[in-house]
């Protein structure tokens, strides 16, 4: 029999549900994920560090946890909130059930929650923090109010040592701020020789690796909490090498070029928003997972061109430098599969590197 659990919110409201996964209590930012097929990817995506994920998909766990759907081998989410939790594992596929996976990773879950109600509530009252707890008493709410979430998230999710993912093509350095493995998957498919480096590496050390181009990865949390060395590196890199930023990487490149980033009233976590690619007028539906957005008024149009815009909330989804082969996107262009509307951003990056090489050789 499942035990009773509560999801309590920072405005004092509480929702009763039942326990699954780990039985510990947890506090984190409450976000709502509207993807209908990516619970394993989200759970293992470091961008969700410190966050409690509510899934709009009504049944979660239908296909268990499989060895091919990891976005990182670690898990980052603080907890998950679901409507119906299916406890399914198929031994012939060598996968494990969501429930055992959560237990193994010490992630608490709460199920039999009306997640539609939560989604509507969170958007109406702009809820930020929540806890999954055993009792919804005053003490629990006090703790939720008092809880300070770590702002040193990158230190917990990003690599502290450089490593190589060998390939026969162009050398690309990936600065890891909380990497999604799909970035590596896509660069590997393009035969890149990938060197993943820690976030606090010096530009001189990057240059010593003689890369063709640099990727600043996605990652969790606020860009304003990031050590200034990353900004310093970006300023140095963009003058010399093609640079691609994704997610948090995009926010930091924007900041380095004079823009400001602010927290949105409610983040976007899903694939339902149309995003306009301005140069060709194409509309794509990329995977988004962000709580921050570059503030359009702070864009210095003598330095940056806006390249992608979210047609639903008007947020900037991509920028490009006017002066350097530097560009970045807020959404995640990469997925685990190898066919998608936005994957060509990686081709674009490699082609920029080739063009850049040609221009410096001449």
């Amino acid at each position: 029999m499942l035990g009773k659990r509560y999801l309590i919110l920072d405005d004092g409201s509480s929702f009763a549900g039942e326990a699954f996964g780990d039985l510990s209590n947890a506090t984190g930012e409450l976000v709502v994920n509207t993807n209908l097929s990516n619970y394993q990817e989200a759970l293992t995506d470091p961008s969700y560090h410190n966050q409690i994920i509510t899934f709009v998909q009504p049944s979660i766990g239908n296909i268990g946890i499989n060895p091919k759907s990891y976005e990182s081998i670690m898990t980052s989410a603080k907890g998950i909130v679901v409507n119906e939790a299916e406890n399914i594992s198929f031994s012939h596929l060598k996968n494990m059930s969501l429930d055992s996976f959560l237990k193994e990773r010490h992630i608490p879950g709460i199920c039999n929650i009306d997640t539609r109600q939560i989604q509507k509530y969170v958007r109406k009252y702009q809820i930020k923090k929540a806890s999954i707890v055993n009792s919804n008493d005053e003490h629990a709410f006090d703790q939720l109010q008092a809880a300070v979430l770590s702002n040193q998230q990158i230190r917990s999710v990003a690599t502290s040592k450089p490593y190589l993912v060998p390939g026969t093509g162009i050398t690309v350095v990936v600065v890891d701020l909380g990497l999604r493995e799909s970035i590596i998957r896509q660069l590997s498919k393009l035969n890149c020789n990938i060197i993943v480096v820690p976030w606090n590496i010096n530009f001189a050390d990057i240059k010593n690796l003689d890369p063709g181009g640099i990727v600043i990865s996605s990652g969790p949390g606020s860009p304003d909490e990031i050590d200034p060395i990353v900004i310093k590196n970006i300023l140095a890199i963009q003058k010399e090498l093609p640079l691609l930023g994704i997610g948090l990487g995009h926010e930091l490149i924007s900041i380095a070029n004079g823009a400001k980033v602010s927290r949105m009233n409610f983040g976007t976590h899903g694939s339902s928003h149309p995003v306009l690619k301005i140069i060709t007028n194409e509309i794509v539906y990329p995977n988004q997972a962000t709580d921050y957005a570059v503030n359009p008024e702070t864009i210095d149009s003598s330095k940056l061109i806006i390249t992608y815009v979210d047609l639903i909330n008007g947020t900037i989804q991509g920028i490009r430098s006017r002066d350097y082969p530097t560009f970045s996107v807020q959404f995640f262009p990469e997925r685990i599969n190898d066919l998608d509307d936005t994957l060509d951003i990686f081709d674009e990056f490699i082609e920029s590197i080739e063009a850049h090489r040609r221009s410096i050789n001449e």
Partner: protein, 842 residues
């Protein structure tokens, strides 16, 4: 496309297996949105059970057989700007392809909308709905050119060719001798050894010494994608659809889940990307349904069908997501980009461009005609046999599944039939060779303790679905073992168990169950069927039931009419009944009532959002109706006459007027089963008015003139040797003996001397009511609605009747039967076995 002033729709013709009201519903919505911007819709169709017929201006309607010649004649006489095949399936595609080929469209400067002229010829080669993509067709060629994976057929005529192609073959392989001397069976070769051993025999069997080899994909998952694409190339998936059954069993006959339940993110996005590429390379501007075979172990997939038109799968996608698909496509056809489409105010302004997401699950359950056709082979396979389907929507998979299953069952009592008396051998045979009782067999097998993985291997059905069935069975067991337990009542209700099931297992009355629910604060709430997953505030009027705390709706009005829909389509007057229901809604609304429809047939026209004020997609079962009544407190409930149990129970309600419509065909009084002709009357409490005479005939020599076999109808009936005035007096005398009101038919038969006597009196049949509407150009359902809501004016009706003029023409309605589709060689053409009809003029 400002130059388009009118659009010709090629209709879908008579309903049939795999073709119900779904295209009619989409066309109706297109007509509405086009008329709003001043574009005229013209229609050619001969299906009397079309909602379009009563709503389209007479001058724009061409009731003719849908042939190349007739369409061409319309083009010659009317000044047509655009023509579209997407509301008429493959026949419409073929006609437009041929018009294009003949140069008729070019000569008259007519645009094809839905897909462009260059690509329409790709689709002409496909003959019927059920056939897989025609091998080596133009379409296949185009897809291959664009790197879209399809199943290629390799024809080899000798061992040299075989050896040359063997390296690129992937096993298992299906092989078939071409022009085989005896019945050519498909051979499945699992590996090269098996092929080596038997291929020689296949060459021998073929008269041409040719063998066709193809990748064998039966057992792969069958996944559908319904997507749209606009003039700018913007593409969006409306819904993924997962067949419970693997490739090999026709999708129309499979349980379908929307969205797909057992695919991971990578698989879904591969399929999505291939769908988009397919639509791009075919230049589709409109809607497209693409069917895939997917090997979920290695993500390999093949496109097996491309349907660039509305069909039953697009209907499921629309009902499941609440996305205004028909409306959006109507605008796409006019080259409006998806981002610029304006929707009615009940939608959030960004809904059209937001890729739909559902926070609920939708399940489609097929329904078969075999109870009526004991001679038909009920084995399921690649050819569709189901006559209809019901959908269930729920906040969890089990709930959606049970809602759909309850709706598909003939019993009004929410209890599933048991197959516990089957022997082990019979059960396993049913598992391997599924028939119409497949779902209940799966329940029985899980119940007997077969492991989910064994069952999955036997049936090629994903293990997930057996886990769902097992969850449901465990919950049913809890219900059986815990009578009157409130928490079991709540959890069972969350799993979609109907009130009838609790009554049955707990041996309790409905009111007893109701009391437990009220005492324990258990009540049904309703969630909006909307496409944003709660992200935006929508005011859509469609709802489904849940047992969660929050409700998305409240009472619509204290002056409302609840119309109980027909549910799934069987054989008999089903599609006609659905159109009848839709007409009721339209006219009740015109009379100032707020209208509420309850129905669960995804192909239904009565669920078109704009013709009622509120839609409930729920089982049409007593408990579910009472829940709605509790919330809506309707002034009227309209209930179909064949739902005797429902009528009896609903009549117990106080404060609600129960109107039985469409009427019960079995009510009436009969002296003889012989029928030659009839008089149709409108009968109110204090008036009887003759409308017309109707003649009957039969399609296969019915010498006994048995009324059930009189399946052709014509208006008017003329017979100079009869004294009609005298017969009318007789008829009116007979009517007065009965307490019937509404449309009443008095049936006569002729004896050997040619004298007529009354055979019986009964309410006018549903199909004949629609026929009467067409023949008289009077909407009799509108008049019935007035009669039963206190708006009846006999003077008005008399004036209408006096204006009826048949202009010396005879209008004929010919009933259609599904015997060909079901491969029945000598089916008896009986009224109760009809699947549709055609109209013609003589």
């Amino acid at each position: 496309m400002n130059d388009i002033k009118n659009i010709l729709i090629i209709g879908g013709g008579s309903s049939n297996i795999g073709h119900e009201g779904e295209q009619d519903a989409a066309a109706f919505q297109a007509m509405l949105s086009w008329s709003r911007i001043g574009i005229k819709t013209l229609l050619i169709d001969d299906n009397p059970y079309s909602i379009m017929f009563s709503e389209i201006p007479k001058n724009n309607l061409f009731i003719k057989k849908i042939t190349l010649e007739n369409v061409e004649a319309i083009i010659q006489s009317e000044n047509i700007d655009a023509i579209t095949p997407i509301y008429g399936q493959k026949n419409a595609l073929r006609i437009i392809k041929n018009l294009n080929k003949k140069g008729v469209l070019h000569d008259h400067n007519i645009k094809i909308i839905g897909l462009n002229a260059d690509n329409i010829n790709l689709f002409g080669g496909i003959k019927n709905n059920t056939e897989k993509m025609a091998k080596n067709s133009l379409l296949a060629g185009r897809l291959l050119e664009n790197d879209i994976p399809i199943l290629k057929t390799n024809v080899v005529s000798n061992f040299d060719e075989l050896r040359n192609s063997i390296n690129e073959m992937v096993f298992p392989i299906a092989a078939k001798a071409i022009k085989a001397s005896k019945y050519g069976r498909r051979h499945i070769f699992q590996n090269i050894e098996q092929l080596n051993n038997d291929i020689y025999d296949l060459f021998q069997q073929s008269k041409d010494n040719k063998v066709a080899l193809e990748r064998e994909v039966s057992g792969y998952k069958e996944i559908g994608i319904v997507a749209i694409r606009d003039i700018d190339g913007t593409k969006m998936v409306i819904s993924s659809l997962e067949d419970m059954n693997a490739v090999g069993l026709n999708s129309t006959d499979s349980v379908v889940f929307a969205p797909a339940q057992t695919l991971n993110d990578a698989q879904l996005h591969i399929i999505r990307a291939i769908s988009f590429r397919t639509m791009d390379c075919l230049g589709i501007k409109g809607v497209c349904h693409i069917q895939f075979a997917l090997n979920s172990n290695n993500n390999e997939c093949f496109v097996i069908k491309v349907n660039p038109f509305f069909n039953s799968q697009t209907a499921i996608a629309e009902k499941a997501t609440g996305y205004p698909l028909a409306r959006v496509v109507a605008s796409i056809l006019l080259n409006v980009p998806i981002s610029d489409i304006k929707l009615p105010p009940r939608f959030h302004k960004l809904t059209s461009i937001l890729q739909p997401i559902s926070d609920h699950v939708t399940v489609k359950m097929p329904v078969w005609p075999f109870d009526y056709l004991p001679n038909a082979i009920n084995k399921l396979g690649s050819k569709a046999k189901s006559t209809g389907s019901s959908i269930g929507i729920g906040r969890n998979v089990e709930g959606a599944f049970m809602n759909a299953l309850r709706s598909s069952q003939p019993s009004p009592k929410d209890v599933l039939p048991s197959y516990s008396d089957l022997t082990e051998d019979e059960l396993i045979n049913e598992l391997i060779h599924p028939t119409d009782i497949q779902i209940l067999i799966l329940f029985e097998a899980v119940n007997r303790g077969y492991s989910t993985s064994d069952l999955s291997e036997l049936t090629k059905i994903d293990e997930f679905f057996f886990v769902i069935i097992s969850n449901i069975l465990k919950q049913i067991k809890k219900v059986k073992n815990n009578p009157l337990n409130p928490s079991v009542l709540l959890n069972g209700s969350k799993f979609g168990f109907g009130a009838g099931m609790f009554c049955h297992y707990w041996n309790a009355t409905n009111s007893k169950i109701n009391r437990i629910a009220i005492e324990n604060n258990i009540y049904k709430t309703y969630k909006m069927i909307e496409p944003t997953g709660g992200e935006f505030v929508e005011k859509i009027d469609s709802f489904y039931g849940s047992f969660e705390y929050e409700s998305d709706t409240s009472q619509l009005s204290n002056h409302s009419a609840l119309v109980i829909g027909k549910g799934r389509n069987h054989l008999g007057p089903n599609i006609a009944a659905d159109v009848y229901t839709a007409e009721m809604l339209i006219h009740l609304h015109k009379l100032g009532l707020k209208t509420i429809i309850l129905n669960n047939n995804p192909n239904s026209v009565s669920l078109i959002p704009s013709i009622s004020d509120k839609q409930y997609i729920e089982p049409v079962q007593l408990g579910d109706i009472l829940d709605i009544v509790k919330l809506e407190k309707p002034e009227y409930i309209f209930v179909p006459g064949n739902r005797h149990y429902l009528i009896r129970e609903l009549n117990k309600l106080s404060n609600t007027k129960i109107v039985v419509l469409p009427p019960d065909q079995k009510k009436g009084s009969w002296k003889s089963s012989k029928a030659d002709f009839s008089f149709d009357f409108l009968v109110s409490k204090d008036s009887i008015n003759l409308i017309t005479s109707v003649g009957f005939s039969s399609q296969d020599g019915n010498s006994h003139k048995n009324i059930e076999k009189q399946t052709d109808y014509f208006i008017p009936y003329k017979n100079k040797s009869l004294n009609f005035n005298h017969l009318l007096d007789n008829a009116i005398l007979e009517i007065k003996k009965l307490e019937l009101t509404g449309l009443i038919q008095v049936v006569f038969s002729l004896n050997e001397k040619g004298q007529a006597t009354v055979s019986g009196v009964s309410p006018l049949r549903i199909t004949e009511t629609l026929f009467l509407n067409l023949a008289t150009h009077i909407n009799w359902i509108a008049i019935l609605m007035k009669m039963y809501t206190g708006h009846f004016n006999i003077g008005e009706v008399e004036k209408l009747i006096s204006n009826v003029n048949f202009n010396d023409k005879i209008i004929v309605m010919q009933t259609k039967f599904p015997f060909n589709s079901l491969e029945i060689s000598n089916g008896i053409k009986n009224r109760s076995l009809e699947i549709g009809a055609e109209i013609l003029y003589k």
